[in-house]
Every structure is written in structure tokens, then in C-alpha cells.
């Protein structure tokens, strides 16, 4: 089996799905699922292979090169995995929308182009796939139409174009200087370049990758885009598409430029990686505090995506094998639980008629138990509670930061976790806990095809939390491929001289403790089940249906921090756009579009020239 087949199936499947949709909608749905499944199986089969293969479709005399290695495989499997689940989830979720052929086509096309970005071995095709990804994403963000969605899409595409232009500049410069754009050849040649040139290249590409990763201060597109996109696509956006930026950073920082040069990029104590670490820390804190003030279920998750990106870059930019493992593992973990949480938010939307407002939900645990289980597992992973996957990766990152002698960064990372608890609990409480409003009395659980992705991802969160060794093996292989030392990975965690982690022990302890306490629970006197209105209100009368404390859940904190938490970056961008808009409308006063005016300009100009000539005779 060859790599080009994988790419052909990915793109071909997308187009074929579109045309099959013209024949029958069932055929289209079935084919889309099969296509996504085929991609998962095929990608899985490439595990551990190291391929580099030029294909001669010459463009500017540069052949298209496909390659597969551990890093590519790692990102590819997350793309196709989430892609498959998202397609399965869409079957029911999207069923009553219009333009379904277009929806499935774009989703598959985005997946294919993302796959292209991680599988290509030269920068021209990287750029082409990257642009395909950006543009098709724009189409899908604004899929539902409406002012908000169009604005979100516009915000995304403008920022994305800025990033692409920076990247294009870098690519052209590389081509001019080295005459090649093949990644392996570049990696060899760039070692001889001057440090200032390498810094320039790194900054150019980093702009593109920071924007797509939505790190502070380029985070502003993400909350709008994620909240306005349809939920299955929000999953893809948040879980894998945003992390293409991480792939880009891996590619440039560690595969092309390499650790040796990166370590030399230090100017008066400020290193390139150090700057990235601080960007990560600011991103974590800013996003965590902003998220807990949100009242929209998907916006909370969107801000958490911004914040979790900070953890990844903290681990990756710290550039030790432990930190690298933590960062890489966190990419995988984030992909799993944020995908899960967006599916949960989508399930709520699906059953309640599109409600995302956290103040008007409540008590749904009694009606949607499977979704709730998914939500609680997802939120636990997001927080990083022990026995969920997020715990292991965060543990690795913290340990890196503390032993690396950087307690301040560790402090920001820890504090971000507390912010996560606050907004994670708010998400759970306002949707699922508390009292069930009368209007949701007859809500049912979502259909099975929507439950399935939730169940699969929930199991993975727990599995990688209890037996992290399964995934850490792959993560470790990514690290060693990038030139870091190998870690001693065991099935239940990581063993090293400076401190071991054994999740299996923790699991056993919690399990035994739970069983013992549960037994005491059972043998003591049985309790009676009571209605939700049968509660203690210290003698006050209980008004029905108005008895759910959700609105401004963290009000005292909100009042304290919100004056200091203005998103001034976003305000700056908005002001900038308004300024440019005004400038353009001033230009329009001159370019009126009337031929008469233009003739007048010409005549006036000629008159001026004649005047000048008559007076001073310059010509």
C-alpha cells in the first residue's frame, strides 16, 4: 500500500461523496462513513513506517514529495480518528439542515487537506494543502449563515491569511537562499545558515502557526469560530485543526532547524523557546479566567481550547524529553476530550432545539444519562483529574517545569488548572445538575449514532488515564524521532530516577476505597428517593421552576476580575478593522464610479500640468 493511495482516497472520497449525494442521501451518508473508516484503517497500518517518496507532478520544477514518519503518523491518526467520529455523529445531528452534500464534501475535504499537510515532504505542497485547509474551514464555519457566523468566518479567514502570507514569505526566502524546498534537504542545508537568518525564518513561520494554534495574542478568531460552527465540525476544529499549528512548530523547530540551533538562539538571556513558554503561560491564565465568565456552552469549550494550547507549547518549547512527551501526549489527550465535549454540547443543542445558553438549561442528567457520563468524563480529562488522560500529560509538563527550575511557569500552569475546574464545573452544573425545568420534562437521550462517538471517546479518556503506557509508547517514539532521549515507559506510567508515576496504583487505591465506602453505604440504612422539589430551604417557600442557581454562577469573582480582564487584543483588532474600513470609505469619496468625475480628475490634472509648464516651464 502506498502513501499516494491514502491521499487519493481522502480527496477522491470527498468529491465522490458530493456527487453520490445528488443520487441518494443514504448512499452519500454510507459512503462518507466508509471513506472515513477506510482512512482510519489505512493510516493505522502505516504505524512505525518511515517513508519518503517523491512523485513527479512537477510544479515550478519541484516534485511533490510524500512522507510518513512517527510525527506525521501521530498527527494523521488523530485527524482521521476524529474525522470518522465526527462524520458518524453528523449523520443524525445534521439531518434536518440544508446543503448536506456540501457539508459532507467540505468536512471530508478539510480532513483530506489536513492529512495532506502532515504527509507532505516539501514546503510547496505543505503550503498548498495548508491553504486548502484554511479556505475550506472558512466555508464550514459560516455554513449556517447568519450575521454572527459570517462575522466569525471573516475574522478567521483574515487572521489565517495574515499567517499564510508570513509563511509564504518564509518559503520564498528559503527557496531563494537554498534552492530547494524539500524538508530533508532543507534540514541539512539550514545548519550552515546564520543565526539571524534562522531567527527570521522561525518568526515568519511561527506567526502562521501561532495564529492557527490561537495562542495569545492571536487567539481572537477561535472563540467566535468554534462557537458558531456546527458542533461536529467544532469538534474537528478544536481537536485537530487547531493543532496543525503544533505540527508546524514540530516541523520547523525540531525537524528542520533542530535542537542544537534552537539552543543557540539566545539574546541577552531571552531565548526563542523561552518566549514561547511565556506565550503559553499567558495563554493559559488569560483563557482560563475568560472562560469562567462565559455563558455559552460552546464558548466555554472554545476558550478551554485556547488555554490547553498553552500547556502543549509549555511542554514542547521547554525542549526536554520529559516536556516533549508531556506536550505531545497533551495534544492527543486534548484531541480526545475536547472532541468529546463538543459532541456533548452538540447533543444538548440537538435535543433542546439549539440552546447553548447555560442559564436556560439544567437538570438534564435525569433525561440524558449517557451524554452526562460523557460530559463528566470529558470535563475530568480537561481538568486533569487522576485516572483520566489529561492527568498524565499535565503531570509530565508540571514535572518538567519544576525540575527545569522554572517555578513561575509551573505556577501559571497550575493556576490555569484551577480556572479549568471552575469553568468545567459550571459547564456540568448549569447543563446537567440542579433542577430540570418544566419545558425539558420530555427530553430523550440522543440517538445511538450520536451516542457512539461520545462513548468511544469516553472510554479512551479513561483507558489512557489508567494505562497511559499504551499511548506513551507512541508519544515516546515521536520524541525519539525528533532527537530527544527515550523515556522509560511502563504500562502504568513513567519510571525515572527523579520520581515515578504509577497510575495503576492510584487506580487500585481509588477503586478499593470506593468499594469499601460503597459497602458501608449499602449496609447502612437504605435511603428513600425524593423528587427534586423535595428540598430543604430553611423554612422559605420554594418557587417551582425558578429554583436553579445558574445565572452569574461565579458572580463575586466575576465582579472582581472582569474590570481587569478586558480582551484588549481583540478590541485592538476590531478598532484596526474599523479604522481601515473608514479609510476605505474615504477613498470611495474619490473613486465615485462616475465616468464624469474621473474625466474631471483628468482634466484638472492636465490643467495643473499646463499651469506648471506655463509658469515655470519645467518640461
Amino acid at each position: 500500500m502506498s502513501l499516494e493511495l491514502l491521499i487519493i482516497i481522502a480527496f477522491g472520497g470527498a468529491f465522490l461523496t458530493y456527487f453520490l449525494g445528488k443520487i441518494s442521501s443514504k448512499l452519500r451518508n454510507g459512503f462518507a462513513v466508509l471513506n472515513a473508516l477506510a482512512l482510519v484503517v489505512m493510516t493505522a497500518l502505516f504505524y512505525g513506517q518511515n517513508i519518503e517518496k517523491p512523485i513527479h507532478i512537477s510544479f515550478l520544477n519541484i516534485p511533490l514529495i510524500l512522507r510518513m514518519n512517527m510525527v506525521s503518523w501521530f498527527f494523521a491518526i488523530t485527524i482521521v480518528g476524529i474525522g470518522l467520529l465526527s462524520i458518524i455523529y453528523s449523520l443524525k445531528y445534521i439531518e434536518h439542515e440544508k446543503k448536506l452534500d456540501y457539508y459532507y464534501f467540505t468536512t471530508l475535504f478539510i480532513n483530506a487537506s489536513m492529512l495532506g499537510t502532515v504527509l507532505c515532504g516539501d514546503l510547496v505542497s505543505f503550503f498548498i494543502f495548508w491553504e486548502m485547509m484554511s479556505w475550506s474551514t472558512y466555508l464550514l464555519i459560516s455554513y449556517r449563515g447568519g450575521e454572527k457566523a459570517l462575522f466569525a468566518g471573516m475574522k478567521y479567514i483574515i487572521m489565517s491569511i495574515i499567517g499564510s502570507m508570513a509563511m509564504l514569505l518564509g518559503i520564498i526566502s528559503l527557496y531563494v537562499n537554498f534552492g530547494t524546498l524539500e524538508i530533508t534537504a532543507l534540514a541539512a542545508q539550514i545548519q550552515g545558515a546564520s543565526l539571524s537568518y534562522i531567527l527570521f525564518i522561525l518568526i515568519m513561520f511561527s506567526i502562521a502557526f501561532i495564529i492557527i494554534n490561537a495562542f495569545w495574542p492571536f487567539h481572537t478568531w477561535l472563540p467566535d469560530a468554534h462557537a458558531e460552527a456546527v458542533s461536529p465540525f467544532s469538534s474537528i476544529l478544536s481537536a485537530v485543526l487547531v493543532r496543525k499549528g503544533m505540527y508546524g512548530l514540530y516541523l520547523f523547530m525540531y525537524m528542520i532547524i533542530g535542537l542544537d540551533i534552537l539552543n543557540k538562539l539566545t539574546f541577552r538571556g531571552i531565548s526563542f523557546n523561552g518566549v514561547f513558554c511565556w506565550i503559553g503561560a499567558i495563554t493559559i491564565i488569560f483563557a482560563a479566567l475568560t472562560a469562567l465568565l462565559q455563558n455559552d456552552s460552546k464558548r466555554i469549550l472554545a476558550w478551554s481550547t485556547v488555554g490547553q494550547g498553552g500547556y502543549m507549547i509549555l511542554g514542547v518549547a521547554f525542549a526536554t524529553s520529559l516536556g516533549m512527551a508531556g506536550g505531545t501526549f497533551h495534544i492527543l489527550n486534548h484531541c480526545i476530550y475536547i472532541g468529546l465535549l463538543f459532541f456533548v454540547a452538540g447533543a444538548i443543542e440537538y435535543r433542546t432545539g439549539g440552546i447553548r445558553d447555560l442559564n436556560s438549561l439544567g437538570g438534564l442528567i435525569k433525561r440524558m444519562p449517557v451524554t452526562f457520563t460523557g460530559a463528566i468524563i470529558g470535563v475530568s480529562g480537561l481538568i486533569g483529574l487522576p485516572l483520566t488522560n489529561g492527568f498524565v500529560s499535565k503531570w509530565l509538563i508540571y514535572k518538567t517545569l519544576i525540575l527545569g527550575g522554572n517555578p513561575l511557569l509551573a505556577f501559571f500552569a497550575f493556576l490555569g488548572t484551577w480556572g479549568t475546574i471552575l469553568y468545567g464545573y459550571k459547564f456540568l452544573h448549569n447543563i446537567f445538575l440542579g433542577q430540570l425545568p418544566e419545558k425539558f420534562r420530555d427530553i430523550k437521550e440522543v440517538p445511538f449514532s450520536m451516542q457512539l462517538p461520545i462513548i468511544i471517546l469516553s472510554i479512551m479518556v479513561i483507558l489512557f488515564g489508567v494505562l497511559p503506557g499504551l499511548a506513551l509508547k507512541v508519544v515516546n517514539a515521536v520524541g525519539t524521532y525528533l532527537g530527544f532521549e527515550s523515556l522509560q515507559v511502563t504500562l502504568g506510567g513513567i519510571a525515572s530516577e527523579t520520581g515515578t508515576l504509577s497510575t495503576v496504583n492510584i487506580f487500585a487505591a481509588v477503586f478499593v476505597a470506593c468499594v469499601i465506602i460503597g459497602l458501608i453505604f449499602k449496609v447502612s440504612r437504605r435511603s428513600t428517593k425524593v423528587d427534586q422539589f423535595d428540598s430543604y430551604a430553611a423554612g422559605a417557600a420554594v418557587p417551582k421552576d425558578k429554583y436553579h442557581y445558574t445565572v452569574s454562577f461565579y458572580n463575586p469573582l466575576d465582579r472582581m476580575i472582569s474590570p481587569y480582564l478586558k480582551d484588549f487584543v481583540d478590541a485592538f483588532y476590531i478598532n484596526l478593522t474599523t479604522f481601515i474600513k473608514n479609510l476605505c470609505s474615504m477613498m470611495r469619496r474619490i473613486y465615485t464610479g462616475y465616468i464624469g468625475n474621473y474625466i474631471m480628475y483628468i482634466v484638472l490634472f492636465l490643467a495643473l500640468l499646463i499651469l506648471v509648464q506655463l509658469k515655470w516651464s519645467v518640461f
Binding site: P386, K399, I402, L415, W418, I517
Partner: protein, 312 residues
């Protein structure tokens, strides 16, 4: 040996925690010039509660409580009590920090399903308060970890028995003071009694518990007090060490017992001092608590961290 420790240390924590609750009532009563209930009153209460009728609000209502108790017990297994630490090689202080989340989170989930707004208000306050004291607490823990250059709490305790208590060493002094300042908030006693404010929100998160649920909640409360103080004693007061007086009998069974007793005595002293603060202060409003916690303890802890970074 290890199995005995695994069984013994939660039991010690359980009895100490419940003893603390009784002691608190007695001492508070004496400060108020009352006679007060007997010191074993909470034990009687818990036994009585188990036989009383209870009302449940659903599955998570029960599971949350079980989870929070299991979480607290897990923390205790990671905490050295004197020389005894059952899960000594499990990930150290970082894991403790994280497992400590399970307790409040379990109670929050359980209380959430109770569908009582008083409960929800209490939980929201608990989380806000936790976020606020966590800022100085994290700084303090990071300072200690940086100073001793380890993430293992056992090594931190060992170093103190060689070099003297952290509280007495100059680089860590500010952090120690900062920990003392936030200890009432960690224990949830006045002036930080905002979470379980009985007069305002009818005891907050425990409003809906009755019967065995209240019994478990009381146990959980006792364990929480134990954890908060034990962490302080371990990090700053040298664990089970008493100025090296008993250094000759360490590693014997008798030495271990002495270590545990010294440790518990230290805990009692810290707790009683906390009670004195509890007795004389009125309750803060939550905004006042935020302001207090984010200004003085944070400032001290931050300066402490900077000092340690410079010294190292």
C-alpha cells in the same frame, strides 16, 4: 509492613479528623464560657446518623460523596504521617495537589444533583474561595519544591530532619508565614466560613444531606481538616521530627510510633491556634476574602518564591 500502613494511616486520619471536630466544639464552647458537648460527641453523632432515615436525590448524589471520600483517603495515603507513608513512590507532591481536587469536586457534583440553590451557592463560593487560596498555596508549594529541588514530599520531610524545619530556615520563612495566613481558608473556618455559612445559605453544600449522607459528609469534613494541617506540618514543621531528639531510635518500631505521636501533637497545636482565630473573627464576605487572599498572602508567597529562586 506496607499493608499495615495502608490500613493504619486512613484510620489514624479518620480518628484524628473526627477528634478535631469534637475538640473544636469543646474549645469554642469554653471560649464562649459554655460547658460544651463532650469531646467524643461527633462519634456519637456519626453512629446515630447511620441509623437514621436518609433521602437521596439520585445516583450522582451518592457517587459524588463516595468519590470525594475516596479522594480524601487517597491523599492521606500519599501524605507522610510521621515516618509512615504508604504510597511513598507514587508521584509526590504533584499527585497530592491533584488528588486533593477530588474531594471538593465530588461534594460539588453530589450537591449539584441535590437541586437546592443554597447548595449551588455554597459550591460556587467553595470554588471561588479555592481559586483564591490556591494562588498563594501554589506559590508556597512551588517555593518549597524549588528550594529542596524535589517533587517528593518524603524527601522534603527528610531534608528537614537534617537541616532543621523549613519554618525556621530563612529562605522559606515568608512562605511559612503565608501558609499560616491562608490556613483558615483551607480549613474553611472563620473568617473564611463563607462556604458552609449556616445563617446565610443553610450550611451550603451540606444542606441536602441527612442520615448516612450527613455522616459521610462529616467524616469527609474531618479528613479535610486533617489533610490541610498535615500538609502544613509536613512541609514546614518537619513532619514527625522533634529537633532530632529521637534520632537514635528512628527505623525502629518504637521510633515510628513516637514519630506518629509527635506528628499528631504538632497537628493539634496548629489546629488549636486556628480555633483561636476562628473564635474571635466574624465572617468575611466572599469579596473581602478574595481581596485578602490575593493581596497579603500572595505577596508574601511571591516574594518568598523570588528569594528562593535567587538563593538557589
Amino acid at each position: 509492613m506496607n499493608i499495615i500502613e495502608i490500613i493504619l494511616s486512613p484510620l489514624i486520619a479518620l480518628f484524628t479528623g473526627i477528634f478535631f471536630l469534637g475538640l473544636a466544639r469543646k474549645i469554642m464552647a469554653r471560649i464562649h464560657w459554655r460547658y460544651g458537648p463532650p469531646i467524643y460527641q461527633p462519634i456519637i453523632d456519626i453512629i446515630r446518623l447511620f441509623s437514621q432515615k436518609a433521602m437521596s436525590h439520585g445516583f450522582i448524589f451518592e457517587m459524588g460523596l463516595i468519590l470525594s471520600l475516596a479522594g480524601s483517603i487517597l491523599v492521606i495515603l500519599f501524605l507522610p504521617i510521621g515516618t509512615m507513608c504508604p504510597l511513598s513512590t507514587g508521584g509526590g507532591l504533584l499527585v497530592i495537589l491533584y488528588v486533593m481536587l477530588l474531594g471538593p469536586l465530588g461534594i460539588a457534583l453530589s450537591g449539584g444533583e441535590a437541586a437546592n440553590p443554597n447548595t449551588s451557592i455554597g459550591i460556587s463560593r467553595k470554588f471561588i474561595l479555592a481559586l483564591c487560596y490556591e494562588v498563594p498555596l501554589l506559590l508556597i508549594l512551588l517555593t518549597v519544591m524549588t528550594h529542596y529541588n524535589t517533587i517528593s514530599i518524603i524527601k522534603i520531610v527528610e531534608r528537614q530532619s537534617i537541616n532543621g524545619w523549613s519554618f525556621g530556615s530563612l529562605p522559606l520563612l515568608l512562605s511559612g508565614i503565608s501558609y499560616v495566613l491562608i490556613l483558615p481558608a483551607i480549613l474553611g473556618i472563620r473568617p473564611f466560613e463563607v462556604v458552609g455559612a449556616a445563617q446565610e445559605i443553610s450550611s451550603g453544600p451540606q444542606a441536602e444531606y441527612g442520615g448516612k449522607y450527613l455522616a459521610f459528609n462529616t467524616i469527609e469534613h474531618g479528613l479535610n481538616e486533617f489533610i490541610g494541617i498535615a500538609l502544613f506540618v509536613n512541609l514546614f514543621l518537619g513532619g514527625g521530627d522533634l529537633f532530632g531528639v529521637f534520632s537514635r531510635i528512628t527505623n525502629t518500631v518504637f521510633g515510628n510510633i513516637v514519630g506518629i505521636i509527635v506528628f499528631l501533637l504538632k497537628m493539634i497545636i496548629v489546629f488549636v491556634m486556628g480555633l483561636f482565630i476562628n473564635a474571635v473573627f466574624p465572617r468575611f464576605r466572599i469579596e473581602q476574602a478574595i481581596k485578602y487572599l490575593w493581596i497579603w498572602p500572595t505577596l508574601l508567597a511571591f516574594i518568598g518564591l523570588i528569594i528562593v529562586i535567587i538563593v538557589n
